[in-house]
């Protein structure tokens, strides 16, 4: 392997931080959601890189499970977004604060 695992983990870290910034900076709930997906995906990249380093496939299995959980999360999350948009006519997360009490 010419490219060291550090390079992959670094790339994964950069993508993760970009995802974090997306969650914190953007106000559009759909983009926040997509940023969460970006973070999950960068974690997957790190898992696969570590899996190659250790020569076992457990990391691949974890990535598989993460992808499944992400699919489930997107299904429920987008359903929530649709429901919220119907009642509030907005998906700006600054306006969604009825849970504050």
């Amino acid at each position: 392997m010419i490219v060291q695992n550090e390079a992959y983990v670094m790339l994964s870290l950069v993508l993760f931080v970009l995802g974090t910034m997306g969650v914190l900076l953007r106000r559009n709930a759909i983009i926040v959601f997509m940023s969460v997906e970006l973070m999950l995906n960068s974690a997957n990249l790190a898992l696969v890189a570590f899996s190659r380093q250790w020569g076992t496939e457990s990391g691949h299995l974890f990535v598989f499970f993460v992808i499944t959980v992400a699919a489930a999360e997107v299904a429920v999350g987008l359903a929530l977004l649709v429901a919220i948009f119907r009642t509030r006519k907005s998906i700006n997360i600054d306006e969604l604060h009825q849970m504050e009490g």
Partner: protein
């Protein structure tokens, strides 16, 4: 070198796509940039020897999930982000600073090589014993006085046992007694992280006290579509393994395994998948030398494997040994030990094997979660105009059958007269009891 170029190119595209996703004003563009990022990560998976995951990434992430996103964006008509009203002016700056700190902290840790300090641990070596000594009784096997196999008769093989790496005194005892008939020290090393290797102890030789020899077995993936074969010669004469061709036709016979001296093992050879004809012949007299088979004679054959079926992705050890017959003569037999080789790293087969054995419970849990999420998504997107109405519909008095016409008009139609005079042009059906009618809007 090409891996480096590919990594840099794909990495730059991935990061650019992520940044563009953050900066795009149009949500559709954001989704498309995220798709591009996912495709780049799928390519990186390919670089990391994970072809199956790369496919799953493309199909599930870039396919299903992103289509779902685009569909919802279209459904909500939320392409243009609404004017971002910021509640906290200081928020952007703080976020940027925290992000840079996070990047630096982890980046320095990774750059300092902190993640490579530990060596991967190897799997414990696997050891088994095959009894190929025709004159010896059935044996018990002990490794450092720990019983690892019981009552192994001639021609039988014990199950694999997993031992910690180290040197062991392997001793054979007559089954059920404390009478040792053979013992020898062997050193077993840890194999790689996967169980890629094993050792087979062959007990062979004439007389009641067999000799022990260790044969290394290699379960790594066979590149060709065939089986990796090793021959261990436990007889008293040097042998060759040949492919006799069609009924010992001397023209198309060829050597498969060249001369194996007594008590030694051959180098591995690859047998191709399918039906093979194999025959063991003695090397004495140099019947077959350098492919010249003009002196080949059927009567010389020690042991013949007719229509021997070879499966792909296997590794086999063939132990050739003498067998005593009732009339005190002996003949040669081959004991083939066939084991599956490891599936290639990252292939669907190997991931499937792992998922359905070691990770069965997580697999089931995730499946359950997916089902629950499916039901949850359906329930959440149900359109309830009014929750109380929905509840009323479920458990209220309206479980009674709805009457399309007021009872009074039914009575009137029966009587043929207006009784009492009502209007029947309302499309919504009133309840059957007339007392409720004044409450309806």
């Amino acid at each position: 070198m090409s891996e480096l170029i590919l990594f840099v190119a794909i990495g730059v595209i991935a990061v650019t796509a992520a940044v563009m996703m953050l900066l795009s004003e149009n949500t559709v563009y954001s989704a498309l940039f995220l798709t591009l990022n996912f495709l780049c990560v799928a390519l990186l998976f390919l670089l990391l020897n994970a072809p199956f995951l790369a496919l799953v990434q493309v199909a599930v992430y870039a396919g299903a999930i992103m289509v779902l996103f685009l569909f919802v964006i279209m459904l909500l008509g939320a392409e243009k982000t609404t004017e971002e009203l910021k509640r906290f002016r200081w928020f952007n700056i703080t976020t940027l600073v925290l992000a840079v700190i996070l990047l630096l902290a982890f980046g320095l840790a990774i750059g300092a090589g902190q993640i490579d300090l530990q060596e991967p641990v190897g799997a414990q070596p696997l050891v088994r014993v095959i009894h190929a000594a025709p004159d010896a009784d059935a044996v018990d096997v002990r490794a450092n006085d720990v019983l690892v196999a019981q009552d192994v008769a001639f021609g039988e093989t014990s199950e694999y046992v997993s031992l910690p790496p180290g040197t062991y005194n392997i001793a054979l005892f007559v089954a059920g007694t404390d009478q040792a008939i053979a013992a020898a020290p062997f050193t077993f090393d840890a194999s790689g992280p996967q169980r890629a290797t094993a050792e087979t102890i062959v007990a062979y030789g004439e007389g009641a006290a067999p000799v022990l020899a260790s044969v290394f077995e290699d379960f790594r993936t066979v590149e060709d579509q065939g089986s990796r074969l090793r021959v261990f010669n436990a007889t008293t004469q040097a042998v060759q393994l040949i492919d006799p061709g069609v009924e010992f036709n001397q023209r198309d016979a060829q050597i498969v395994v060249d001369t194996v001296e007594p008590g030694t093992e051959s180098d591995p050879v690859i047998l191709l998948e399918g039906i093979n004809e194999l025959a063991f012949i003695p090397t004495v007299g140099e019947r077959v030398v350098d492919g010249d088979v003009s002196n080949l004679d059927t009567a010389d054959t020690l042991f013949r494997l007719r229509d021997y079926e070879v499966e792909r992705d296997t590794a086999q050890l063939m132990v050739l040994t003498d067998e005593r017959q009732f009339d005190e003569t002996s003949r040669v037999i081959a004991l083939p030990l066939v084991e599956d080789t490891l599936a290639p790293f990252g292939s669907p087969k190997s991931i499937g094997q792992l998922m359905l054995t070691k990770y069965l419970l997580p697999f089931e849990m995730v499946s359950l979660l997916l089902l629950v999420a499916m039901v949850g998504a359906v329930v959440l997107t149900q359109r309830y105009h009014d929750l109380s109405k929905a509840l009323h519909r479920v458990k209220g008095p309206a479980n009674r059958r709805r009457v399309a016409r007021p009872l009074t008009s039914v009575v009137a139609s029966q009587l043929g007269t207006q009784f009492p005079p009502t209007t029947t042009n309302g499309d919504a059906a009133p309840e059957s009891s007339p007392e409720l009618q004044p409450e309806r809007p």
